[in-house]
Symmetry: C2
Subunit: 145 residues, 2 copies
């Protein structure tokens, strides 16, 4: 499973320790989704002191190379994921931040139809369902009256 250096090479990026560490961290992060700052902290925990600037730069370069995806959920900071998996959309827990992936062919085909009717040439789409994950639902049975 250690193809990270290969991928960097194929992307025309030099294979450096920071890059490898950053991608490995993303790979191992919970649910394989992490923000730049989370990656920074995870690296620190493993005694890898890589500056935030480098992390942002590497993530941006890898995104442009198609190695990772940048996800813009509600709440400002971007979250990144390795691009190895096939296309999918996301379920995000508004309480704990947990991210789950899903893919639904019915939705995908409806999207194509809708875009076609509107005359749009779709390049990309994002679909995020926000709510409480099973765990958080139990911990917060009811919030209001």
């Amino acid at each position: 499973m250690d193809e990270i250096p290969e991928k960097l090479k194929q992307a025309g990026l030099k294979v450096t320790l920071p890059r490898i560490k950053i991608l490995e961290t993303l790979e191992k992060s919970a649910g394989q989704h992490a923000s730049a700052e989370e990656i920074y902290r995870l690296l620190l925990q493993h005694d890898e002191e890589i500056g935030v600037a480098t992390i942002y730069r590497v993530l941006t370069q890898c995104e442009q190379a198609g190695l990772i995806h940048r996800l813009q959920f509600e709440g400002g900071r971007a979250v990144f994921e390795l691009a190895c998996a096939s296309h999918h959309d996301h379920l995000v827990c508004v309480r704990c931040g947990q991210v789950e992936e899903f893919y639904d062919e019915v939705i995908e085909s409806r999207q194509r139809e809708i875009a076609g009717e509107a005359g749009f040439d779709i390049e990309d789409h994002s679909m995020v369902l926000y709510g409480l994950c099973p765990r958080c639902r139990q911990q917060a049975p009811k919030e209001d009256g």
Copy 2:
């Protein structure tokens, strides 16, 4: 159609000139979608000098009151729309920024099913299709190859 003051009152907000102007500007903006900065500039064009801080404050307050929605498309800045219309999702032109709305019951119901299977209690969702609108498609027949 001039119910803006009414809505403000119902939301428990004082009916002030800046608020009325800001909501009117949003109402009249292209496709009824605008960012805070766009609203600021549109107001300036009509010789209304309202500070950005006020615009952000008013937009945030109106959002909390349910009068408008804050949309987080790709690219950082938030875009706002009046909440008068019923729920819908968005098609965004990646070139000219044009925003179109759509609603599809098939997608909506699939979303509910998916969330249910995952055990999530959905509070909200966002779905955005990014691509070239009909006009921009003509102006840019092919970019590569």
